[in-house]
């Protein structure tokens, strides 16, 4: 980002500059800005009390709580799993490292509905593995466990993507210095590696959190959409909208939009602050 800024800027003096900018605004306005605006216009159209009422309903509250809870656990699990994976990939050589490296980034490209379907076909009561666990009473699908599985899968690359570049570039000498001074592996990890990962972990957590909060495609397949038990906020929005309760759907949509704005601006703030240090 800084590199591009420091390049000598050649400004084309096109005669239709004003027109081009207006066209851009004309396109972006209905494309990006108006749809987001519509949520808030609808949310407040019938007065704020109706909005609050729709939001404080038992179903809406549960759905928001569940989504935040799942996002939190997903971020936690993936920060451990992602850091471990990145550490292994940065430090060790092992067979099938390359194909595995490609595989772990695959969730970015797989449609989330496909993730949901495949989890059902694996862990569902008639699934490949699930059929053996079903008689034992272990049924992860259509429960919070199933939602977590889906979210960890779908958001896995975000934490990895944030942590791995930092670990890859971390000077081995620091680590070796720590060892020579007599620090154990755990101590080295805790005092040397982890502090340098702080920024990356924070960014990765926020990205994971945001994606988990809004995850729909995989969740709708594995959650069972059970009100007050497995219905997350995006599922609540979809169900309520389908049932014609647009107010209820919209209130929760507005909250999700605000939460994502907050996460986005925190991310922006953090990355902008860290950028100059690295350059």
């Amino acid at each position: 980002m800084n590199n591009t800024l420091s390049l000598p800027r050649v400004r084309l003096r096109l005669p239709w500059r004003g027109m081009l900018i207006s066209i851009l605004f004309l396109i972006l306005f209905p494309l990006l800005i108006m749809p987001i605006g519509a949520i808030f216009v609808f949310a407040t159209r019938d007065g704020l009390s109706r909005f609050i009422h729709a939001l404080t309903g038992e179903g809406a509250q549960f759905a928001l709580r569940l989504s935040l809870f799942v996002a939190m656990i997903t971020s936690l699990l993936n920060s451990i799993l992602g850091t471990l994976t990145a550490y292994i990939f940065a430090n060790y050589r092992f067979p099938a490292k390359r194909p595995l490296g490609i595989l772990i980034n695959l969730p970015v490209a797989i449609p989330t509905v496909v993730v949901g379907t495949s989890l059902l076909l694996l862990w569902g009561p008639i699934g490949l593995v699930g059929r053996y666990f079903d008689p034992l009473g272990f049924r992860p699908m259509f429960a919070i466990g199933g939602i977590l599985l889906a979210h960890v899968f779908v958001t896995f690359p975000y934490m990895l993507g944030a942590v791995k570049p930092v670990l890859d570039e971390l000077e081995v000498t620091y680590e070796e210095a720590a060892y020579t001074m007599g620090a154990g592996r755990l101590k080295t990890f805790w005092y040397v590696i982890l502090p340098s990962l702080r920024g990356a972990l924070f960014t990765g957590t926020l990205l994971t959190f945001a994606h988990s909060l809004g995850e729909f495609g995989a969740t709708v397949m594995v959650s069972g959409n059970l009100r007050l038990r497995t219905q997350t906020a995006p599922l609540y929005i979809f169900s309520q909208f389908e049932a014609g309760n647009i107010e209820a759907a919209n209130a929760v949509a507005a909250v999700l939009a605000i939460l994502s704005f907050i996460i986005f601006f925190v991310l922006l703030h953090v990355t902008e602050r860290e950028q100059p240090d690295e350059a």
Partner: protein
């Protein structure tokens, strides 16, 4: 730096405090919970009418509180969720076909047709909802085959109401004097060329109609009656002279009901056929299955001149093979897309 750390810590604590209740109900699950999966249009009557009434009865009889968990979607969606492991104790389907499928998959082991009224809890005819003033003059299924008519239809692959609609369309062309299976095939083909939107459930199709799509919505009479009762119906009902009564079964899912919970599940099912429950159904726009006289309590029901039921086609398994699969999926759907 320290300020942002404090803010971050506060946010985190807030998050924990807010989401904490999620952990609690998972722990406190007992035999006094009832998980009900139902098809779309039952949502209001079940959550606002039937469940509170049953809860009261159960408390009077046993002194226990029951906690309900519910999920509503298209009947086919619900059936598939249960088949793939959704923890439903009781399923309320739009038609018996979904129950036959779960029986085939081994999730239902008893014979629900031995229950009162063959397991059917209520019924409602399939009708048309048209725009105010009926500008296109639509009232029979035959009117829907005219060029330029836009139809909003629920999706037969996920919605039970859509399957009833298919039978209603078929019967309207086939059953009257002079009708035939060939006429039904031709008529349905032209009608399906006019379908502009498929909704995943009857309720979803209704929402799409509300959003302004189409001239006619094929759906349950209950959809209209429920809103007429509340005085907020902005469209018009058109009752075809020949149409079907859709009949909705309630069934315990044997695989998911442990023995200690069976009495509660049975009590709930029995409750659905009591006069109290039937009156609630009527109040929400369904017609009673136990006593037609109860229907008089809702003034918004229409008269159907020539109603028929799925028995006109030999019951659900046969109607599904002949009309839904044989005609609609294998012939009409193929030709419409050509």
């Amino acid at each position: 730096m320290t300020l942002s750390k404090i803010i971050a810590a506060l946010c985190f604590l807030l998050l924990i405090a807010y989401t904490w209740p999620i952990v609690i109900p998972e722990a406190g699950r007992s035999s006094n919970t009832l998980v009900i999966y139902g098809f779309s249009i039952l949502e209001e009557v079940v959550t606002a009418g039937i469940l509170p009434a049953f809860q009261k009865r159960w408390k009077e009889q046993t002194g226990q509180e029951i906690r309900f968990y519910t999920s509503f979607a298209g009947s086919g969606t619900v059936m598939n969720q249960i088949r793939f492991g959704a923890p439903a104790d009781v399923a309320l389907f739009s038609n018996a076909l979904d129950a036959y499928r779960l029986k085939g998959a081994g999730l239902i082991r008893h014979d629900w047709t031995a229950s009162p009224h063959k397991g059917i809890i209520n019924r409602t005819p399939i009708i048309l909802i048209v725009r105010k003033g009926n500008p296109k003059g639509l009232s029979r299924f035959q009117d829907l085959e005219r060029p330029g008519v836009g139809i909003v239809h629920p999706d037969p692959q996920t919605s039970g109401g859509a399957l009833w609609a298919l039978l209603a369309e078929y019967g309207a062309f086939d059953l009257p004097e002079g009708g035939s299976a060939a006429a039904a095939r031709e008529g349905m083909l032209r009608l399906w060329k006019n379908v502009i939107v498929l909704g995943s459930s009857a309720r979803a199709a209704r929402t799409q109609f509300e959003m302004g799509f189409g001239d006619a919505l094929i759906t349950y009479e209950q959809e209209a009656v429920k809103d007429l009762t509340r005085g907020k119906f902005n469209h018009q009902v058109a009752v075809p002279d020949w149409t079907i009564y859709s009949e909705h079964p309630a069934i315990a899912i044997d695989r998911n009901v442990p023995p200690e919970k069976a009495p509660l599940v049975q009590a709930f099912l029995d409750f659905l056929w009591t006069e109290e429950a039937q009156k609630i159904f009527v109040q929400y726009g369904f017609r009673s299955i136990t006593d037609e006289r109860l229907d008089a309590e809702n003034p918004y029901f229409s008269t159907v001149p020539h109603p028929f039921t799925v028995e006109a086609f030999g019951g659900w398994p046969r109607a599904n093979a002949d009309i839904v699969e044989g005609l609609w999926r294998n012939q009409i759907l193929e030709e419409v897309h050509r």
